[in-house]
Every structure is written in structure tokens, then in C-alpha cells.
Symmetry: C2
Subunit: 120 residues, 2 copies
Amino acid sequence: MAEKEKMCCDSKEIHEDLLKIVNATMPPETELYDLAELFKVFGDSTRIRILFVLFEAEVCVCDLAEVLNMTQSAISHQLRILKQNKLVKSRREGKSIFYSLADSHVRSIIAQGREHIEED
Amino acid sequence: MAEKEKMCCDSKEIHEDLLKIVNATMPPETELYDLAELFKVFGDSTRIRILFVLFEAEVCVCDLAEVLNMTQSAISHQLRILKQNKLVKSRREGKSIFYSLADSHVRSIIAQGREHIEED
DNA sequence: TAAACATATGAATAAATGTTCATATGTAAT
DNA sequence: ATTACATATGAACATTTATTCATATGTTTA
């Protein structure tokens, strides 16, 4: 028996210890999935650009589209994703809808990202 | 003339001010692209899981594959992406190659992400 | 040198994703 | 009410991406 046992890297004990530690510290599947989902939102340069605009001001869809030189539809689709993930919030004023940052994590996450890419 | 002028949201002045501010604060295209590229790396639950293992220990490819219950090939492909983006580094020891975290931003970026998804 | 092991990698496939186009919804003005 | 304006949204298309499979590279052992 034990023929199907994979004894990876000739180190069975270390491997078992690792398993224990990982099982104890790894967040549940749903959280890992949500985390990946969140970072996916930051993983598109159009959305990043939208966020940078919103760092400076509360802006309506139309202005976002013009400032970023993209169609209203493209911007609107991306705003929906940003909003679903609670990175931005919106407010209606007449015909326009103004978007702004939803919370401070957005700034710090992007700041950390910039730090990372700016080291050599 | 001026027929093609888009006077978005009936507010030409505000819009021009916005343009100035945005042009002054928006990072260059290349940086925006690199930023998005970096976050894309975090935007996959397999890579997130790899990082969580590496939070605990320096681990070889084979152990990663077994702990995460994935094929060696799949893990290896993802490690390549993590390494290209300088989130992990590697070290050879005999036949095995051990991976570990490359810098501290990885921890803080993921920490910020967790904070974000864990509010309400 | 040959065989076994650990890892890397190219090609193929399936799934996810961003933009465009057409159109729907909602609000204000005539 | 009808028209115009601002935004949202569904479908289609093109591109990207993660995994699998087969195989190559590199290291150790017999």
C-alpha cells in the first residue's frame, strides 16, 4: 500500500508541518475569492485612471468620459464594477450622476502599489 | 464654428479646471499601465493562495503544488508571473527551487485588501 | 552515462474580460 | 406630452488569461 502517497521533495515531516500551518492561517475559500475579485478591479488601467480622477474631485460620468477620452458607455460599465466592489459611490444631481471614492482603502492600496513598482 | 465642442454637463469652466488638475496629478501612461499590471497579479485566487503559503514559510514548488492541491505545472506558471512582477524570489537547493516573498509590500497590499472586504 | 526527480515552458483549450453599438431608463426643459 | 440630455445596460466581438498536457531543462544518484 501507500503506493499513491506522494512524498514530495523527499521531506515528509516538513511537509506535514507546512500543511498544519497553512490550514491554520489560510483564510477560507470565499475570502480568498473575494480578495482576488477585489484586486481584479484594480487590475485595469481604465479603472485605475478613473480612480485617479476621483482622487481629485467628485465627477460626473460625462466629465469622466471626456477627461479620460473614452466613450460614456465604456466609463459607465467600469463605474458599475467599481461601485459593485464598493470602491466608489454615486449621487444624483439632476440629470447627472456624480461619482466619488467610497473609502480610504482605495488610496492606500494604490499607494502601496505605486511604492512597489517604483523600486528599481 | 465650435460645433464639435462637447460642452459636457453644461459646465465648461468646471470641466476645464478638472482637466488642469487631472493633467497635473495623473501619473504617466506607463505607470498607470504598470500599476494595473501589478494588481492583475493579485487578482487571481491561485496566486493569492500561493502568497498566503509564502507568508508562512519558504516553500518549494512541489510542496506548494501539494499543499494547494494543484498540478506542478499550474503552480509553476503562476510562480513565473509572481516572480516577473517581483512579488516572490527563488533560490535553488539541489533539485528543488524554493520560493519566498520578495518584499514587504505584498503583505501590506493584501492586508489592505482584506480590510476593505471585511467592512460590513 | 543512464535513470530518476524537480521544475520550467510552449501550445492548445476554455473561460473571463473590456470595449463598442444599439437601446433602454430616468430627468429636465420646451 | 414631446424633445433633449445624462446615464445604464444587454449583446456581440476581440483579447486576455488560467489550466492542462506534453515535453524540455537542469540536478542528483546509481
